[in-house]
């Protein structure tokens, strides 16, 4: 199995466990602003950027829709096409709110993805080291860290 690419080491094991169980084709873990913390399955940096930006946009849109309807924000979205499913979910982590974007094929299912997503959230909560004083938990200077992140994700 190809390895996931991660910005911080603690993300690797929980994510790879999730990928192994679900057989997902593509996965992104990112901040609500679309900054990617880990990716699996993408070949090109531009595809990661586009998927992350679009995923973050969708999450922001449905969050706003929920607010307008005076609902708590949606936890997860699932889009189904004949060959693939796209699962987008928000969750809390010790590093703040995060988004997961998962693409799966016919050899997996929304049931499996949902099931192991809950485990992923738990695993990430356990695995996260305490945020150090020096390193920002989620970088404020987006552009600078972006290039560094992209380099890591595609080394």
């Amino acid at each position: 199995m190809r390895r996931a690419r991660v910005i911080e080491p603690w993300l690797r094991e929980p994510l790879e466990r999730f990928l192994g169980e679900t057989g997902a084709r593509l996965a992104l873990l990112m901040t609500p602003a679309g900054q990617v913390l880990a990716q699996y399955g993408f070949v090109r940096a531009v595809d990661v950027m586009a998927a992350a930006a679009l995923g973050a946009g969708i999450a922001a849109s449905t969050g706003e829709l929920a607010r307008m309807l005076e609902e708590r924000s949606f936890r997860a979205l699932n889009h189904q096409s004949p060959r693939h499913g796209i699962f987008l979910a928000q969750f809390d982590s010790p590093r703040g709110a995060l988004l997961a974007l998962v693409v799966y094929g016919p050899d997996s299912s929304i049931g499996l993805v949902q099931l192991f997503f809950e485990e992923l959230v738990g695993d990430l909560a356990q695995a996260a080291p305490p945020a150090s004083r020096d390193a920002p938990a989620l970088a404020a200077d987006f552009e600078r860290d972006l290039n560094g992140s992209l380099a890591t994700l595609f080394r």
Partner: protein, 116 residues
């Protein structure tokens, strides 16, 4: 409609030793209807059973013996039984070790006939 399906499942769960039965959407691994005892994780069971059924179905097809009609997974403390109900639906039953397997199978096949 779900109440009707649950009534069908109750026929299976009435068999002594059966801890639960569910109808699962095979492609999605999601619960359609369930009749489960305490402690059985329905969502997990649905997702994993559907995945298993999918794999076994492909294996059966590859061996040329035709599609699976009844799956029996025997484990240390019980069993998992699967019967495809047609139209992408799966009947999943979870049992204790001492269950009358023949009876459980019979009721499952009858239930599937009613669902179709």
């Amino acid at each position: 409609m779900t109440a009707h399906l649950v009534r069908i499942l109750d026929r299976v769960t009435r068999v002594r030793g059966v801890r639960g039965a569910m109808l699962v959407a095979a492609e999605d691994g999601l619960v359609i209807a369930e009749s489960l005892m305490e402690g059985v994780r329905g969502n997990a069971l649905a997702a994993l059973a559907a995945a298993l059924a999918g794999r076994l179905g492909r294996a059966a097809a590859a061996t040329g013996v035709g599609s699976a009609t009844f799956v029996h997974l025997e484990a240390a403390r019980g069993a998992l039984l699967l019967v495809p109900a047609g139209q992408g639906v799966l009947l999943v039953t979870i049992t204790d070790a001492g269950v009358n397997l023949g009876l459980a199978r019979l009721e499952m096949l009858r239930a599937v006939a009613e669902v179709a």
